[in-house]
Amino acid sequence: MSHAATDHSEKSDEALRYSEEERDLMDEVPSPSLNPWISLALLILLGFVYLWIWKIILLKGP
């Protein structure tokens, strides 16, 4: 974020509206190249795998 955007906490609150340029400054923060929705689905899948491992443990007996 540029200084213009990060400086907001010093000003009074009601004066703070993003200008047209400031609206996209959060896009300057790097994000993973993987599509966010695919990564969310993969994480949920990981949860199922974790649960499946516990199912096996419990069925065999701890």
């Binding site: 974020m1 955007a5 990060t6 400086d7 907001h8 906490s9 009074s12 609150d13 009601e14 703070l16 509206r17 993003y18 609206r23 996209d24 400054l25 959060m26 896009d27 300057e28 923060v29 790097p30 994000s31 993973p32 966010p36 990564s39 969310l40 994480l43 949920i44 990981l46 949860g47 199922f48 974790y50 649960l51 499946w52 516990w54 199912k55 419990l58 069925l59 007996g61 701890p62």
Partner: protein
């Protein structure tokens, strides 16, 4: 449980430690509202990680999910697992971007983009969720303590609310981050002890019928795909707009610290969340399927552990509940102070006046949440009723705002989507078809969030396209 003699020195030591941290934070760390709300944005990744994990682990998850697991088996994991998996997702896609905006609260972000009416609507919807969650956690804490001390629920509510309020009042987010870290280790140790003793006391696991019941131990469980899907969607939607959690990221000293803190905290709590379902499964094994859900955790604590170990588990319930309660109380106080008082009532208030208003709001929120639980004591549902409203309105709007440039230029769409999502989910929760009202959860024919969330997403998509179809977007520089 009737013959249980708690180790008072242990409980007193724990409470004294919490108080000492509050005093330390008040004397050395807190001088303005920003210190109370987001620890002056100076927190490192591990404090954030343990605090995120401790906030997700609370009395409702210990008592509530173990109660749900008695009926739903391993699949009860999803009543909490989806929240913590979504936290890992937030660490990459949402929190670093939000931290970079330098906001203190979520409603503040809506005003920065669209103006005050968006801020007010977002504030109301977030409060519905956070006040419900706070009331639910106070309730779980009060239920345990009233049974332990043989005092009334009202006396227990007053006692536990007061004990938590003291250190939040003194040290705000700083006290929360440090106490949460200690509380995380206490809860992990206590809950692990209970599971280990539970397995040790269940002789010959193979001989028990549950160990051969693959449906009860299945990853979709007796509730089936529809129930698990509802839990997953609720978890993701509520987490995406959960201000108490997101404020941890805003407290980070850098974007990297925010990302790491959420990632580590998400992984820790993802691993831990199997413990309450295991406790529920063990309780069904030991006491049979007719044990009331709300008694599962306590019966296991006093029936399996006993003696000094039971005291450790009791402290872990205290720690689990207080680590969530302190966070939700603090985040609502930040809303009352930053989004209401200094925004609309007294914008020119001095830093000192704002700090004391903040602390007064902490007391106010604690009392308010205790009153809500007194009149509506359905523990887990308190988490979800307000959560569904927020999850069908603010959460999708916030995620869309962070991820999509076009949504940032669609004020009417964002406002109407939030309004419609909240009104529809409230209406459905009032009129929708309920299968069963239990002491832990309400079972719906189709969960309200599954019905309304697609409507909100469709409104955001179509509305944004209509509102911005003539807008020309400038090309952005590559952030890499």
């Amino acid at each position: 449980m009737d013959t249980f003699q708690p180790a008072w020195w242990l409980i007193a030591s724990y409470l004294f430690l919490m108080l000492a941290i509050g005093i330390w934070a008040a004397r050395t760390k807190v001088s303005k509202v920003e210190d109370m709300a987001v620890a002056g944005r100076h927190s490192g990744p591990w404090l954030i990680a343990f605090s995120v994990a401790a906030t997700w682990i609370n009395g409702v998850t210990l008592i509530g999910i173990s109660g749900v697991a008695k009926d739903f088996g391993l699949s009860a994991y999803w009543t909490g697992g989806s929240f913590v998996l979504a936290t890992i997702w937030l660490s990459y896609y949402i929190v670093p971007r939000l931290r970079a905006t330098r906001i203190l609260t979520i409603p503040q972000l809506f005003e920065r983009f669209f103006g005050p009416r968006h801020r007010i609507l977002a504030l109301i919807l977030i409060l519905l969720r956070d006040l419900g969650a706070t009331a639910g956690v106070i309730g779980s804490l009060a239920v345990v303590i009233s049974q332990l001390l043989k005092i009334s629920l009202t006396e227990s509510l007053i006692l536990m609310t007061a004990l938590t309020l003291v250190y939040v009042f003194l040290g705000g987010m700083w006290a929360i981050l440090v106490t949460d870290t200690i509380q995380f280790f206490i809860v992990s140790m206590g809950s692990l002890v209970l599971v280990v003793f539970g397995f040790l006391s269940t002789e010959d696991w193979q001989a028990h019928h549950i160990s051969h019941d693959s449906d009860f131990l299945g990853i979709l469980g007796p509730g089936g795909f529809k129930q698990v899907l509802a839990w997953i969607v609720i978890g993701i939607a509520i987490t995406a707009g959960y201000q108490s959690i997101i404020q941890r990221g805003l407290a980070a000293s850098s974007t990297k610290a925010a990302r790491q803190g959420f990632l580590y905290g998400g992984i820790l709590s993802t691993i831990w969340y199997i413990i309450p379902p295991l406790i529920g499964i063990l309780a069904r094994e030991k006491y049979g399927p007719n044990i009331p859900g709300e008694e599962v955790f306590l019966r296991m604590t006093f029936g399996v552990a006993g003696g000094q170990l039971a005291s450790i588990i009791v402290i872990s319930i205290l720690a689990a509940s207080m680590s969530t309660l302190d966070s939700t109380i603090n985040t609502i106080a930040s809303n009352f102070t930053i989004d209401v008082y200094t925004r609309f009532i007294h914008p020119k208030a001095s830093a000192r006046a704002q700090l004391w208003i903040y602390r007064t709001n902490i007391l106010l929120v604690g009392v308010l949440a205790a009153v809500i639980y007194s009149v509506f004591p359905v523990m887990m549902e308190l988490f979800w009723l307000g959560g569904r409203i927020m999850g069908a309105s603010v959460a999708p709007a916030l995620v869309a705002l962070v991820l999509f440039r076009s949504v940032r230029r669609a004020p009417n769409t964002v406002f109407l989507s939030m309004l419609a999502g909240s009104v529809l989910v409230i209406t459905y929760q009032l009129l929708g078809s309920v299968q069963n009202v239990g002491s832990m959860v309400i079972e719906w024919t189709v969960d309200p969030l599954l019905v309304v969330l697609p409507v909100t997403v469709a409104m955001l998509t179509i509305g944004t396209w209509i509102e911005t179809r003539n807008h020309t977007f400038k090309e952005l520089p590559n952030p890499r």
